[in-house]
Amino acid sequence: MVYLTRKAEFSASHYYHNPDFTPEENRRIFGKCNNPNGHGHNYTLEVTVKGEVDPRSGFVVDLKQLKEVMHREVLDAMDHRFLNKEVPEFLTKIPTTENLAIAIWQRLDSKLKKAKLHRVRVYETQDLFVDFYGEGK
């Protein structure tokens, strides 16, 4: 089994707010991230797929295909966007790094043909990142 990781970068804004909480609760739990005008990050995405090496091509996965899927499913939807307002998942979910990793996993998992998705890692900053390995894992 060989693991292959492809990186991408995107920039987006977000804020944290749960309409079921009172304004005081929102401020206490989310702090400065509750500012409704939003704030932004340069995110780094690492997508790791795994598989056996194809004896004819020497590839685990066609990197071109992986790159295209990442661009179409993630970057086109999220780069230079206000996540809360422009990305459907975050109309109802809080765009934390945890939920971002889960949403990206769900967007990619069904679209990858030969390779099996192993891990989605999202860096919000160089000092904070989240790994997601799939539902229930």
Binding site: Y16, I29, T96
Partner: protein
């Protein structure tokens, strides 16, 4: 994952299934935070002769000690809380690490600390000490791993009894 049973009729079935699936699926995420601290140490074992210490630890055996800028990575995991979207609140993790780890080790000589009076303050042992501090005291999420970078070239990981997740 498990789906709750619901009407499977033409229009409502799929939507309800999707909603139920969201409610019952457990999404476990792993969150890693990086911190920095600087400290000095000297590697020297009382169980070894002077020659043995020199042969084992080389320049690190210098009696006056030397220092490093350490980078600490703490990984915790748990179900993502649907109300907050979080594994645990970063304020809690940062507060704990600041209080119990960084303020204990930052700008200290490790050899003068109680845990290293017998134990050689290698980065292996320091990783284990930090893991134990977190394991004992941090209750807001499951501790997965402590990684300690001594320099850009050397790093150490400790996961307790568990196999490290790649």
């Amino acid at each position: 994952m498990t789906l709750l049973s619901g009407p499977d009729s033409a229009t409502g079935g799929e939507k309800l299934r999707t909603e139920n699936r969201e409610l019952t699926t457990v999404f476990i995420a792993h969150l890693t935070r990086r911190y920095r601290f600087s400290a000095s140490h000297r590697l020297h074992s009382a169980d070894m002769s002077a020659d043995e210490n020199q042969a084992t630890y080389g320049k690190c055996n210098n009696p006056h000690g030397h220092g490093h800028n350490y980078t600490l990575e703490v990984t915790v995991s748990g179900p993502v809380d649907q109300k907050t979207g979080m594994v645990c609140n970063l304020v809690d993790l940062d507060g704990f690490v600041e209080r119990e780890v960084l303020s204990r080790y930052h700008l200290e000589n490790l050899n003068t600390l109680q845990e290293f009076t017998q134990l050689v303050p290698t980065t292996e042992n320091l990783s284990i000490e930090i893991y134990e501090i977190l394991q004992r005291g941090f209750q807001k999420a499951h501790l997965e791993r402590v990684k300690l970078e001594e320099t850009m070239m050397n790093s150490f990981e400790y996961t307790g009894a568990a196999e490290p997740k790649r």
